[in-house]
Assembly symmetry: D3
Homo-oligomer: 138 residues x 6
Amino acid sequence: MSLASRLNAILDAKTTPLVVAAHCDLPCGVYDPAQARLEAQSVKACMEKYLASDDADFKTRCLIIKEERCEAVKHHLWVLWTDYFKVDHLKQFPNLHDLFWMATKTAGDAKKSNDVNIADRLLSEIDAIAELFWATKK
Amino acid sequence: MSLASRLNAILDAKTTPLVVAAHCDLPCGVYDPAQARLEAQSVKACMEKYLASDDADFKTRCLIIKEERCEAVKHHLWVLWTDYFKVDHLKQFPNLHDLFWMATKTAGDAKKSNDVNIADRLLSEIDAIAELFWATKK
Amino acid sequence: MSLASRLNAILDAKTTPLVVAAHCDLPCGVYDPAQARLEAQSVKACMEKYLASDDADFKTRCLIIKEERCEAVKHHLWVLWTDYFKVDHLKQFPNLHDLFWMATKTAGDAKKSNDVNIADRLLSEIDAIAELFWATKK
Amino acid sequence: MSLASRLNAILDAKTTPLVVAAHCDLPCGVYDPAQARLEAQSVKACMEKYLASDDADFKTRCLIIKEERCEAVKHHLWVLWTDYFKVDHLKQFPNLHDLFWMATKTAGDAKKSNDVNIADRLLSEIDAIAELFWATKK
Amino acid sequence: MSLASRLNAILDAKTTPLVVAAHCDLPCGVYDPAQARLEAQSVKACMEKYLASDDADFKTRCLIIKEERCEAVKHHLWVLWTDYFKVDHLKQFPNLHDLFWMATKTAGDAKKSNDVNIADRLLSEIDAIAELFWATKK
Amino acid sequence: MSLASRLNAILDAKTTPLVVAAHCDLPCGVYDPAQARLEAQSVKACMEKYLASDDADFKTRCLIIKEERCEAVKHHLWVLWTDYFKVDHLKQFPNLHDLFWMATKTAGDAKKSNDVNIADRLLSEIDAIAELFWATKK
């Protein structure tokens, strides 16, 4: 059984359907904070690998790749903010703008540092956004 | 509670940790078939919106965006095939190559058509890959 | 004499220096709303050329290129919002978030339409942002 | 008042309208050497920040970002050369080709060095191009 | 035997080594006009398939893909012009600039048309450039 | 005479036409392993230049550019594997999947190393693929 099937089966058993949402400007209607989160996990892994290594070239590659992954986090969050969330959502969640502003700023900070705490902060800010996102799907 | 939190809570209760995996060439170790699946859902949504519309410009935009989304599916699958799966996995799953070859070919077919059956085939091929993927994580 | 020189000469004569600002995540410190505005002008031109033509292929190319230009507008605005503006600016301009949210949403709307009014709205929203931006430079 | 507004107000008072020009292959008719100049300013800032820092990782990031910004300069100049300038312009400005060739070569040199003189040369070459450009707009 | 081997074997027999040349800004020293030519062949094929089809969606896809392929032609030619050719080459081939200007303009024209003659002109302009290129390799 | 002309002339004399093939998802029908090979040559040159230099910044640039070139190799090979080769080819060449899997894995390894042997292995794996490719064209 596939992951989605496994998850759906488990969640269905709890009567909460797994709605996996969408992300383009058609709009196709498919959005999912998981895209930003996966990139943020990669950012954290780049930091951890950077810190654990003493190979200068490998550390340089960690920086190169982390730079790209942070940019991907920012992009996925920006798309979610502008394209998915609507005026009604803002009324319901007045901190919506600040959550996204801070999370994208943290993704920028993660380019400039290998401090895993920054990656952890980024992950928890994305989780907070995901919580709002899934609340709108109920 | 966010999706990840919900899933973790439910899965924790079943003593199966949710390992969300990784995707760059560092390698950072983070891979997840969910990236390909989300894009494939978007492909399907583009087809459905194309079929439901009679606005020529909108239909053109469906084609433009579907073209990009299909390419994204292919890219995510190729990365998974080359970067995540190892020789030992191939021994365990001798159909590994064919699964990826067929799924990426289907993503190519989805550029050329608005037949939702092709998108459904793509989704089920990605689910079959996800099943192998998660089996390697046990 | 170059444009910048001409402008500087004219502005200098008025004792208002032309500070052209910056845009990457180093951060290099160079930001300028002109980047978003140029793309928005291109969006408007795509619409106008679309409306003035009756060549189906040319109109399709207008849609393809407008899609890209709108995305460029969004990108430049998102970068400005997250990277340039700071918490102190937000205190000074409490409508900062809404300005960017609305302008990026309008850029998304401009993908979906050839109504020149939408491009004009986009341009004036970018001008409003530029006004805040240049106010912070004083 | 926004920059564009300020400039227009000042220039209007001098009866010289500010024509901001264009950049895609529709062609949309919007070209502006300012796009190349902004990227070149960013190149210079990357060099300055590189020289002022003794943090090895930060210096690496300067190199990564400068590489991209130089490429952006080249791209904007190439587009201007091929798409905006016409055979009649070449008759009027026989050094047109050399100006662009040299400026794009300088942008390549700026990838290979942190010598601010190279960035200054790049900026003045772009200014020379901008001068031709604006002369054609009169 | 591989293509390169086959070609080398044949060419070796004629005492003319096959030097395949290079294309990045390191510079790595690898340039080859074949990159532009392959994309131009694709441009021509897009036109031919467009002309032979009466499926509106397929024709739209021809336009989308041709737009990208033409851009790739331009990019490969620009890189060759700026990065490979040096001042000494220009002395030897005074028409160097015009060849590249015209060829990149033709690649722009090929976006705007499905006239196969334009693609043929583009191919022969690239061949003329390749001739200069290979002359410098002797 | 251009390269293509020279090659065609030589090959024609041997009654083996030079078919230069194609690479997009239209499909335009134009594929050529030369695209992957050129990038792999660039990868090798990046390694050689890295090894021959003792300028830390230059070595960093070698790593940045090699990272991109390796990615380009992978992309060109993936496209060839999924888009050009068909089920009938697989019957004829049962090792088709393994050749591509190994070659793309080697391109990934080349990101992680400056060992020229890896680049040589990559080149010979691409040559083996080119051999199959050209065999299908007979």
